[in-house]
Structures are given as structure tokens and as C-alpha cells.
């Protein structure tokens, strides 16, 4: 018997492409955020809400939406006159770096400040795949139960911001916010949590400020 020691990350191929994307976006000083949630948490609704607000603040951006088969989300965003590229994963439960690379080629990225990626609705696999983003945003909602951070710790661990959407529903659903926040802190102590409602608009401005601040930091970072 012969043995050869290898120490190679299984994600190497994906990570290499992700690094290329990161280098490109660093050069162009464009911030990219990767929004990860379970289906129905409100990612597309959030983008419909926040897109026009970003525009009014003079932020130049494009949206990449991932979906297994349909282009429903992209159509919703397109209807608002926002720049959007649809990625169909052909059934795969996540977006990977190669798909994002192709999508970026369809966008005129020069002059952009921000790329927002709506990942496929799934709290497991998207957390696994680096797509060259500056940060992942874990997008939770009150309708899905307070224990999701505990059940899906990787996405919490990998994120730089946690958004808890649908706080307007708190009076109807049994969602223990303190418990949820406690779980989040245990998995990722420094993680900022912003509570929002896409319905009432509560908290959206805070997320916007958070993103604006990250864009500013990215632009100031000299190569």
C-alpha cells in the first residue's frame, strides 16, 4: 500500500474563482454583499424596498438574484426599473463563484458602488460557497422560528450582519427575540443584529446606513 498526503481544501476550485472576483471588485472598489436566508424570509421584498432608496441616495448598484429555475424574483426587481441579472442554478441549492463571475460579465460594473446578491433561499449550502463577496448577510425572519441560528450556525458564523425581518408579525407569532439574539451572539459574538419590517419600513434605514458605511470603507481602502 502506498499513501500520499494531500492537504487541499475541497472548496479550492470555487475559492480560486471567488478570489478572482474579490480582486476584481477590490480594484474597482465595488462592495458586494451576499444575502442568505430561508425561502420566504423576505429577501426580494427587502430589495424592492431598499433598491429605490439606494437610488435616491445616489448609490449606483446592480442586483444579482439566484433562483433554482424561475426568474420571478428578477422580474419583480426589473419591474421597478432596477438593474438586475438573473442566475438560474438549474436546481442547485446555492450560487457558486463561477455563476457569479458569469453574472458580473453581464453587468456594466464600472462606476458601480455596490452589487447585491440574493442567494437561493436556503440556510445551509449558500453559507458554504464563497462567491467573492465582502460580506454575507444572514437574513432571518420572525415567522420562521427563533431557533434558526442554532440550527444553521454556519451562516451565522460566516456573516457580518444579521437582519431579522417581519418584526411587524411579532404580535402574532411566538418568536423569542431574546433567545434568537442570544444564540446569534454565542455563535458569532460580534455580529450586529438589525430588526426590520419590510412591511412597515421599520429598521430599513439602519440597514441602508450599514451598507453605506461599508461602501465608504471599501472606497477608502487603498490597494
Amino acid at each position: 500500500m502506498a499513501f500520499k498526503v494531500i492537504k487541499e481544501s475541497i472548496l479550492k476550485y470555487n475559492d480560486d474563482i471567488a478570489e478572482n472576483i474579490r480582486t476584481l471588485l477590490k480594484e474597482k472598489k465595488i462592495l458586494m454583499v451576499n444575502i442568505i436566508s430561508s425561502p420566504g424570509a423576505g429577501k426580494t421584498t427587502f430589495l424592492e424596498k431598499v433598491g429605490p432608496m439606494l437610488g435616491r441616495k445616489g448609490i449606483r448598484f446592480a442586483i444579482i438574484t439566484g433562483d433554482c429555475f424561475t426568474s420571478r424574483d428578477a422580474e419583480r426587481i426589473d419591474a421597478l426599473g432596477l438593474e438586475v441579472v438573473q442566475i438560474n442554478t438549474g436546481g442547485a441549492c446555492h450560487i457558486d463563484a463561477a455563476l457569479v463571475k458569469n453574472a458580473l460579465e453581464e453587468i456594466n460594473i464600472s462606476g458601480k458602488d455596490l452589487i447585491i446578491v440574493e442567494n437561493v433561499g436556503n440556510l445551509v449550502c449558500p453559507a458554504e460557497f464563497d462567491i467573492g463577496e465582502d460580506m454575507k448577510i444572514a437574513f432571518l425572519s420572525t415567522a420562521e422560528g427563533a431557533d434558526k441560528p442554532l440550527k444553521y450556525p454556519l451562516v451565522i458564523k460566516e456573516s457580518k450582519l444579521a437582519v431579522v425581518n417581519k418584526v411587524d408579525l411579532l404580535k402574532y407569532v411566538d418568536f423569542d427575540m431574546d433567545f434568537s439574539e442570544k444564540c446569534i451572539r454565542q455563535i458569532n459574538p460580534g455580529l450586529e443584529v438589525i430588526k426590520i419590517s419590510c412591511k412597515s419600513g421599520e429598521g430599513i434605514e439602519r440597514v441602508l446606513e450599514w451598507i453605506k458605511n461599508k461602501i465608504k470603507i471599501k472606497k477608502e481602502n487603498v490597494l
Binding site: I10, Y13, N14, Q186
Partner: protein, 114 residues
Amino acid sequence: MHEIKLTENIVAILEREVASPEVGRVKKVHLEVGRLRYIVPEIMQTAFINIPKSEKLEKAVLEIKTLPLEIKCQTCGAVSMLKDFRSDFICGKCSSEDVKIVSGDEFNITGIEW
């Protein structure tokens, strides 16, 4: 569900490794995967069988070592192992909630046997 895509990556890495002439027909491929990676070994093994491979890899099987989810207490320094994701993230020794994950996100090919 992400096992298939990841297994394709594994095959791609292995094809490059077995290209060197000193490597014979591979019997076993060793992987180490942390609990946080949510890998179901059986699904990955089946995917591995089904993905087309070169002759040297045809008969290979995946030996997947699952590494535990471990947390380190920031108060007393003790390292405790968590059985599953749903267990409370608290120190097994002093029950402090101030803990950090120290292992569980490994995801490597560690070797091949032939």
C-alpha cells in the same frame, strides 16, 4: 444537496493528484469534514461513485472522517464538544455562555491510498 457539487470538486482535485506517474490505482480517499459542514457521508459517497472519473480513480471509495463541533470557553478556557447543533452553546465545565467555536468547519482532502 450541496454534496454533488462538492464531490465534483473532490474529483477535480483528485484527477490532478493521480496524474503523477508514481500514483497507482487509488483504493481510498481520505477526507476530514467538520460537523458544521452539514455533509451526509452516504450522499457524498454515492455522488462520488456516480461522477465519471479516470481509470486510476474508478475503484476508489471515500473514507470520510467527521470532526466534532468544539467550543472553547472564553472564561475558563475549557474546550467542550457539542453533540449536535441544537445543544446549547455553553461551556461544559463552568456553563459560561462566552464561548467560541474552535473546530467543526474543516473541509479537506487529507490523502489517498493505493
